[in-house]
Assembly symmetry: C2
Homo-oligomer: 173 residues x 2
């Protein structure tokens, strides 16, 4: 690989470094706002969002790992913390002995609804309102291309996310 | 804040979620490649890069914290790991009793040079080569706007980074 390294041009290098700086600033601001105002790190908030949008507000832990930013071990830790706060409950899956289901509680839904306005305001301040509508559109195309470039992993992730656990609502509702 | 929440439009919401997905995919791929091929998480690699570019290949720990993605406590842990591997040394600052200096060793420079080609290849695969030259240019403007939106923090960070520790090279060279 060494002999044929295609080093970044000065412009590419600048964009890559700016991208890193911009991401760290954005994620730091988004995480900081959520922790300060809602006591929820961004990753925890996203777990609640994913659950809130799932049928029965419940997902298998393996689906949640795929949808979220967490490894399975870190997800397990995060869900335990959310359980302690009464925002999520975890139960065994009726149709799959290997599986466990995480479900958003009413208290978790209320916490999410309370946290959302401040979070959206921060996302606007750090990203959306900082860009022109044309740049928002461009960013959609750019991030689409980035996701496509990662497609071997993304595709297998989507397949895993499609594996449902039937009987969730019967178990939990 | 609740009464005046400017919720994201469907398009803005889509771009924000794609941005998150794209970033997780990118950072996962970049981190994974570096760990797999060089035994260096991306954050550690960046510490070596920052040191390699500093005068005398050395920075105060506070400057390194500002330049890197780490909090001071996590940076201290990371630098300890890099010290154990002989890639960095840490010494007291001659002109500031509060300060400590981290310096890249020759072995650290060699590790960085060995890791760089594979890392650059991954950055190309995950980002630069996935975009058209026009999109790379657009991303430069977009990330510039994001950094400007975070400017209160960025500005104070730059001030801190400007505080040099004179005598670094006398101490260490």
């Amino acid at each position: 690989m060494e002999t044929s390294t295609r080093w970044l041009t000065a412009e590419e290098q600048k964009v890559w470094r700016q991208f890193l700086t911009a991401c760290y600033a954005l994620f730091g601001a988004v995480d900081g706002q959520l922790i300060r105002d809602s006591g929820l790190p961004h990753g925890y908030y996203e777990i609640l969002v994913h659950l809130s949008e799932a049928p029965g507000r419940a997902l298998r832990m393996s689906q949640l790992a795929t949808a979220s930013t967490f490894s399975k071990s870190r997800l397990s830790h995060a869900v335990s913390r959310l359980e302690e706060r009464g925002l999520v409950i975890r139960v065994d899956c009726a149709t799959d002995r290997r599986g466990q289901i995480a479900q958003l509680t009413d208290q978790g839904m209320a916490a999410l609804e309370a946290a959302a306005p401040g979070h959206v305001e921060q996302v606007r301040r750090s990203l959306i309102d900082a860009l022109t509508p044309e740049q928002v559109r461009q960013l959609g195309e750019i991030t689409g291309a980035m996701i496509a470039a990662a497609s071997p992993d993304a595709a297998s992730g989507c397949q895993e996310a499609d594996v449902g656990c039937h009987g969730i609502e019967d178990d939990l509702r």
